[in-house]
């Protein structure tokens, strides 16, 4: 007997009740899920648009800003928003718009790099801990729990104070804070899927265990991880700005939004509101966009929350 012969006879049977390709009866149509992409939700679109805008501004600031963000005295001190200085000037007469544009490089850059490092390292460790379990899991999980005992901001403050300011240090500290969360999340995701039939089937078709964990299981956990990444990014952006505000992060002259707020806080009482208001607005916009995106992503990836 040849294979095509089998095909003929079997395919003949198959056309009866079991093919969604045959003109489906309406009742069957409901039972078979269709692959139609849901239109992007509004929160997703807004979140994405705002973030793209921030990225564009950050890139633009590399080649052009209205004034030099670092040089004082481009105007007089404490000038309110005007045609020349759209968002006003600060105490030293620097242009606030230019500084906010340049600040996007720091706040967005630190956030993105720190979150990426945390995501990659945390997920790799979490996947290993979740898939292999046993001693590996215990060692990894316990190590991480120690760091989790400290609240994020407090930990960041302590470490930055200890190792000193600098962009690289802030990035490392921020990603360090994020790792435990990614680890716990990916560990739980992988654990819940580790004994699923498709994981066992993947093993049986010849995959090594690491291949099962990283090629088969991890991609199926991407949804919840991405959603969390976005929300975590909002948190990282806030803590970065907080460090700047406390004067712990970077050189106080750096056009970082948090330190700009700190520099302008005395103006709040005396009526020069624009000093702190606009950097604050920039932070709010960025964290808000990350939250919107994260919320939309978790809606999209959680079947229970999908409409």
């Amino acid at each position: 007997m040849s294979a095509p012969h089998i095909l003929e006879s079997v395919a003949g049977h198959d056309a009866t009740a079991d093919t969604p390709t045959a003109p489906p009866s309406p009742a069957v149509q409901v039972a078979v899920p269709t692959r139609r992409r849901a239109p992007l939700s509004w929160s997703m679109r807004i979140g994405l648009a705002v973030l793209v805008f921030y990225c564009a501004v950050a890139l633009l600031s590399l080649v052009w800003t209205p004034f030099d963000p670092l040089s004082p005295g481009v105007g007089e001190g404490y000038m309110p928003p005007s045609r020349e200085f759209l968002l006003g000037t600060d105490r030293l007469g620097s242009d606030i718009l230019s500084r906010i544009m340049a600040g996007a490089r720091y706040d967005l850059g630190i956030t993105l790099v720190a979150v990426t490092i945390a995501l990659v390292v945390g997920t790799i460790l979490g996947t290993i801990a979740g898939y292999y379990g046993g001693t590996v899991d215990i060692v990894i999980s316990r190590c991480v729990e120690v760091f989790q005992a400290f609240p994020g901001l407090l930990f960041a403050m302590l470490v930055v104070k200890a190792v000193g300011p600098g962009v690289l240090n802030i990035i490392l500290v921020m990603s360090f804070i994020g790792i435990p969360d990614y680890l716990r999340l990916s560990r739980a995701e992988i654990r819940s899927r580790r004994n699923w039939p498709y994981a066992e089937a993947a093993r049986m078709v010849g995959n090594r265990s690491w291949q099962v964990a990283f090629r088969h299981l991890l991609p199926n956990s991407a949804g919840p991880l991405l959603a969390f990444t976005s929300i975590n990014a909002a948190f990282v952006a806030l803590v970065t700005a907080s460090l700047g505000f406390l004067g712990l992060g970077l050189d106080p002259n750096t056009p970082e939004w948090g330190s700009m707020i700190a520099r302008g806080q005395d103006g709040v009482m005396t009526g020069e509101w624009w000093l702190s208001f606009f950097p604050g607005l920039a932070i709010l916009g960025m964290t808000g966009a990350f939250y919107l995106l994260g919320d939309a992503l978790s809606d999209l990836t959680d079947p229970r929350r999908r409409r």
Binding site: S25, P26, A27, Q29, V30, A31
Partner: protein, 266 residues
């Protein structure tokens, strides 16, 4: 006919998608449940059998809309009744046994408490009297040591025992006129399954219960049911007495289903 307890007449319905489009799933469904009989509604996945049963109780999914027809119960159209009137009928007049009894019960109350609570809701009376009724109902569905079992939680029950308790609640505590059983033995082992079905038949006979058994298993139907409704893809393809359906099936789908159940050529 006077001996018809419930009739589904020209019932059609559809699912409404988020964008408002309707996908028809039930087409002109017609059948009647005779008083005192056990009627099986048989069909495969997507046949619409469960949807029809849920519609009788008014607990169909929110996205399901009726496009035509009515469901008459003791002369009243269930589909036009308001929430309050439906609630009065649900439980007291029509009750339902679900596939997964353990999931259908509240995990934080004991089985006895749940039965007693339902009894008091339906018939009133003191807490102690209701608990006595609950224990009595458990005894009548052959649960050993009913006093001890009544103090246990649903997760301490095996699947078969939980289904017995569910039947005790739906049939003996609620004392309905019509009992709907949605795949009551699916997922249970065959030895347990046959005992549950015997219990259902016995309760039906002794309590004069009208029962509607929703199932995909023709084997269960052959031994227990008086009448059969065969559904496929949202339509009723054949109705008849159980004997007629099994000995002289008319519709090609019925014949195919029978052959497939016995694993013989159609």
């Amino acid at each position: 006919m006077s001996d018809v307890l419930l009739s589904v007449e020209n019932f059609s319905g559809a699912f409404r998608a988020a964008d408002g489009r309707l996908t028809p799933v039930l087409h002109d469904v017609n059948f009647a449940l005779r008083t005192g009989a056990i009627t099986a509604v048989v069909g495969e996945t997507g046949s619409g059998k469960s949807l029809t049963a849920l519609s009788i109780l008014g607990i169909q999914p929110a996205t399901f809309v009726r496009t035509s027809g009515r469901i008459l119960f003791e002369g009243r159209d269930l589909l036009t009744l308001g929430a309050t009137a439906l609630r009065a009928i649900r439980g007291r007049r029509i009750s339902m046994v679900f596939q997964d009894a353990r999931a259908a019960m509240n995990p934080v109350f004991t089985v006895g408490q749940q039965l007693a609570e339902v009894f008091r809701l339906q018939h009133g009376g003191s807490r102690d009297a209701a608990m006595a009724k609950a224990i009595d109902a458990l005894r009548r569905v052959s649960i050993p040591e009913p006093e001890r079992r009544a103090r246990q939680y649903p997760h301490e029950f095996s699947g078969g025992m939980a289904q017995r308790a569910m039947i005790a609640m739906a049939a003996l505590i609620c004392r309905p006129t019509l009992l709907i059983l949605d795949e009551p033995t699916t997922g249970l082992d065959v030895t347990i399954q046959s005992e549950i079905m015997e219990l259902i038949v016995e309760l039906g006979r002794s309590a004069g219960l009208t029962a509607c058994l929703i199932t995909h298993d023709l084997g269960v139907v052959a031994e227990t049911c008086d009448a059969v409704v065969v559904m496929n893809a949202g339509r009723v393809v054949e109705t008849g007495t159980a004997e007629a359906i099994f000995t002289a099936p008319q519709h090609a789908y019925t014949r195919k289903l029978l052959a497939a159940s016995l694993l013989v050529p159609a």
